[in-house]
């Protein structure tokens, strides 16, 4: 099902025309209403009259995450505070949080793009959706909430945490869909198994998962454990929370709502735009945002974009699964390591749980790289040799994928923390030593 066929299946030339008009408008807006943007454009020698269409976008300077911290809290608003009706913020692991302000119109765009996502997942007015993303400053809860209301579905605004209550509500209220982070879905799946309620007690059939990168293997694990179809809903606080992109029934990449959020792929080192289909850093320009439009915002997400029309009929660009974040990326002994790579190895190895914890340290000028993993309870054996072989085999599998040898530690069942929100899976002790 398609929520807004006019846009989602729009001829690409017409879409570019629409993007061009909107880009000109948003550049005018930030130039005249937001001091830091005006200054930066002047420094770069660009004025709004240089932007005649979407093809001119590369003339504009980038915006970084650091800018959002530097102009905390309201320095990047392009609307007066009287027009702002909602604040969201992301906690940020270091220092100040990032704050965004949304106008009434921004909220209506958000619920429009959210409705496109849920409709693509096969949800509609007859469906009950349990929103187990956190409600509050985090965009997940309220973003998904507005999307469900817009399609006329029934929201269970349960927010995150309180797993036993989640299971009870899901069962008693007959939730058809669960919206939460994929790591919480894994956690919930284990808790449902442990609860002893038979699967027939639940009507769950769709997962609306996002807010953190996840792998294809993780999808298969969740789908098998919960017996549902799991879809990716993409979003980021700075741009718009959940609803920036979504998977259709083909699950052949994530369609981006590019009539509102214009994507580019650039070289993460040089910032040069890369040719179609290349892997690189994803950059977004919000074409219609009023409260806090962002021009060429560097997401630090690494991916690639594909422009051929999708089998589902949509013409909206498709984004590959996010490979990782430049921020999440660890450089260990000179090699780039993404935690998601380790996750995919574990999901494929049937003797292991998908949970892990990485500790990186520096001893005698050499990086140490420890990965704690859990063997599934039924695979622990009274056989030292067998256990050591299991450890050796997973060590080699990880080494094959990332290129360096991890120091694997087998740990007791359920001793790696299961997260109810975003997962903390890495401890880099080197940062305390510099």
């Amino acid at each position: 099902m398609i929520w807004n066929e006019t846009v989602e299946c729009m001829d690409r030339q017409r879409l570019r025309d629409l993007q061009s008009v909107r880009l000109k408008r948003v550049v005018e807006r930030v130039y005249h209403n937001c001091e830091p943007y005006r200054k930066r454009m002047q420094e770069a020698g660009v004025s709004p009259s240089d932007i005649n269409g979407i093809e001119d976008i590369a003339k504009l300077p980038f915006t970084s995450k650091q800018d959002l911290r530097d102009y905390y809290p309201y320095g990047l608003l392009s609307s007066p505070l009287s027009e702002i009706v909602r604040i969201h913020a992301s906690s940020g692991t270091t220092g100040k949080p990032i704050v965004v302000g949304l106008t009434r119109n921004d909220l209506s765009v958000w619920s429009e793009v959210g409705a496109r996502c849920l409709t693509a997942f096969g949800l509609g007015k007859n469906d009950t959706v349990q929103v187990a993303y956190g409600y509050g400053l985090f965009t997940g809860g309220l973003g998904a909430h507005a999307a469900v209301e817009n399609i006329g579905g029934t929201v269970i605004p349960i927010s995150s945490g309180n797993t036993q209550k989640q299971i009870l509500m899901m069962r008693d209220l007959g939730a058809k869909a669960l919206a939460c982070t994929p790591s919480y879905a894994m956690y919930l799946a284990e808790a449902m198994e442990a609860s002893g309620y038979p699967r027939e007690d639940f009507q769950l059939r769709v997962g609306v998962f996002g807010a953190e990168p996840w792998t294809e293997e993780m999808r298969r694990t969740i789908e098998a454990k919960l017996n549902i179809k799991a879809y990716d809903i993409y979003g980021l606080t700075e741009i718009m929370g959940p609803g920036v992109g979504y998977e259709c029934e083909c699950q052949h990449g994530t369609h981006l709502n590019e009539d509102h959020f214009f994507p580019e792929i650039v070289d993460p080192e040089t910032g040069e735009p890369l040719p179609e289909g290349s892997h690189g850093e994803l950059v977004f320009t919000t074409l219609t945002k009023e409260g806090m439009p962002l021009i060429r915002f560097r997401t630090h997400d690494l991916t690639a974009l594909h422009y051929e029309k999708c089998k589902c009929g949509r013409t909206l660009v498709r984004m590959d699964k996010i490979m990782g974040r430049c921020d999440d990326m660890l450089i260990i002994r000179g090699v780039n390591v993404f935690p998601s790579q380790i996750e995919s190895v574990l999901c494929e190895a049937e003797e292991f749980e998908p949970h892990f914890f990485i500790t990186v340290d520096r001893v005698n000028n050499t990086d140490t790289f420890e990965v704690k993993v859990e063997v599934k309870p039924e695979y622990y054996k009274d056989d030292m040799k067998g256990m050591l072989e299991l450890k050796k085999s997973i060590t080699h599998k990880i080494q094959n994928v990332i290129g360096i040898m991890p120091d694997v530690k087998l740990v007791e069942p359920r001793s790696i923390e299961r997260s109810e929100g975003k997962v903390k899976r890495v401890l880099d002790k080197r940062v305390f030593k510099n």
Binding site: V375, P377, Y380, K381, D382, D383, E412, P413
Partner: protein
């Protein structure tokens, strides 16, 4: 198996190599009134396998699993030999002659007796060889 009763169920518990884990197991079993008749730990730098002989292995396994431990039940044989020089060696010679390999063993002595827990690769042959040579074995009910 005719000698069924002579095969004793041993608890095998996976433990991380950090202080307090073994004590934690002992505490849990102690609280439930389960006595560890014999135990041994095989370990390497990051984990160990705790092997325990108790009176009610199935109940003990369930209790430990409820505490999230990874527990399996393993068949072993418990021998009673005299606590003096050379008696272990004579038993091992019997098994060696029959080409029976011992994956692991551990022993504890009390007074004049020594008790040896063995995990042979061939159970039938092992039991037959021990019987033929009049080696005394514990049956399940004797473990308290």
């Amino acid at each position: 198996m005719a000698n069924d009763n002579m095969i004793v169920k041993q608890l095998s518990v996976f433990l991380e190599n950090k202080t307090g884990r073994l004590n934690h197991v002992a505490e849990i079993l102690g609280k439930e009134g389960i006595n560890m008749t014999a135990f041994s730990v095989a370990d390497n730098s990051d984990f160990g396998i705790l092997r325990v002989i108790v009176h009610e292995p199935e109940r003990a396994a369930k209790i430990l699993r409820d505490h999230l431990f990874a527990v399996s039940l393993t068949d072993v044989i418990c021998l009673k030999i005299s606590n003096k020089a050379g008696s272990l060696s004579s038993v091992l010679s019997i098994l060696e002659k029959e080409d029976i390999y011992i994956e692991y063993m551990y022993a504890f002595s009390e007074g004049d007796d020594a008790n040896v827990v063995i995990r042979p690769d061939k159970f039938e042959e092992c039991l037959a060889a021990l019987k033929k040579n009049n080696i005394v074995m514990w049956n399940r009910e004797q473990i308290v």
